[in-house]
Symmetry: C2
Subunit: 153 residues, 2 copies
DNA sequence: CTATTTTAAGACAAAAGACTCTTCATTTAA
DNA sequence: TTAAATGAAGAGTCTTTTGTCTTAAAATAG
């Protein structure tokens, strides 16, 4: 798998936040129900994003989490780096430590090109890009639902 | 991680076989030592490749495994498919079941492009390509060694 | 102040992946 | 024919990932 499940859940969650126009705090409980993700597990993942500065949280009634920046300014790669770390974009495809220009493996050059295309895709796609597309075409962020249902109160 | 460790070991092993010019059976024990992979674990992985028809094996003294085809005709994707299966090249980046043209997720289109570039790289690179490059530039398939050492008896 | 709502934190359990070990069947060489 | 070398198969262990549960801390509403 390219991304860990935690990372995928983090992406779905930030995408959900980006698709809400209002900048209010959204309870994690509500998000977990809408996105069909275990509440406690999602909480743990969002804590990582909060620690990383991508989200801010607020405790108590009317509390929850929200994006710290405008979603246009958050790229998918920001979420991926916060949760899965940089290894996807730095590691050797053959798993050799220290593989790089200086001490490459036979696959290094070709993999570096492919890896860059992954990085570019993640870096050039903002949360807004996907949220807008999701709304416009009524796509889905869960196994069965659609955007319309997702955003309904 | 893009590829499982089993898959990476399978690639290193087939690459090693491709770099031996003679078409003799190579004992797995020897390969495991050269490649610094646990013998029993490597055995299990190579059994998958044998079952898939990429390798053939021979028991008894002077036995071992060898490629069934010329290494020019084996692409990296053949090994990846035999061990990790097709999921890397078919799965949704957001983990949604049935994500495709008919019922896509918001990321589907962009991911499909990236995924194709991964597929193309794996499909257009043969074992010979990498073996030749490894020999010519004396690269490595292990943490510390180099090709010269790898091919020495 | 008190009860309620919410995130924070960490212990714990289950599942999957990575790896080891033992036993067995096959083949060859002497 | 017997011993040695080898792959085949599967049980078992360790680690990481994934997911659950409990308790604490913070904030608000009344």
């Amino acid at each position: 798998m390219l991304l860990s499940k935690s990372c995928v859940y983090g992406l779905r969650a930030t995408l959900y936040l980006a698709s809400k126009e209002k900048e209010e705090f959204i309870p994690i409980k509500r998000m977990s129900e809408k996105l069909e993700i275990s509440f406690h597990f999602l909480t743990k993942i969002l804590q990582q994003l909060t620690a990383d500065g991508l989200l801010e949280s607020f405790k108590g009634p009317n509390g929850g989490v929200r994006l710290t920046k405008a979603p246009q300014k958050i790229a998918l790669i920001d979420v991926v780096l916060a949760i899965d770390g940089p290894k996807l974009l730095t590691e050797c495809a053959l798993g050799l430590p220290g593989c790089g220009l200086k001490n490459p493996c036979p696959l290094h050059d070709k993999w570096a090109v492919t890896r860059d295309s992954i990085r570019d895709m993640l870096a050039n796609t903002s949360l807004t890009d996907l949220a807008e597309k999701g709304k416009a075409e009524n796509l889905r962020l869960t196994d069965d639902g659609d955007f319309e249902e997702l955003l309904r109160d």
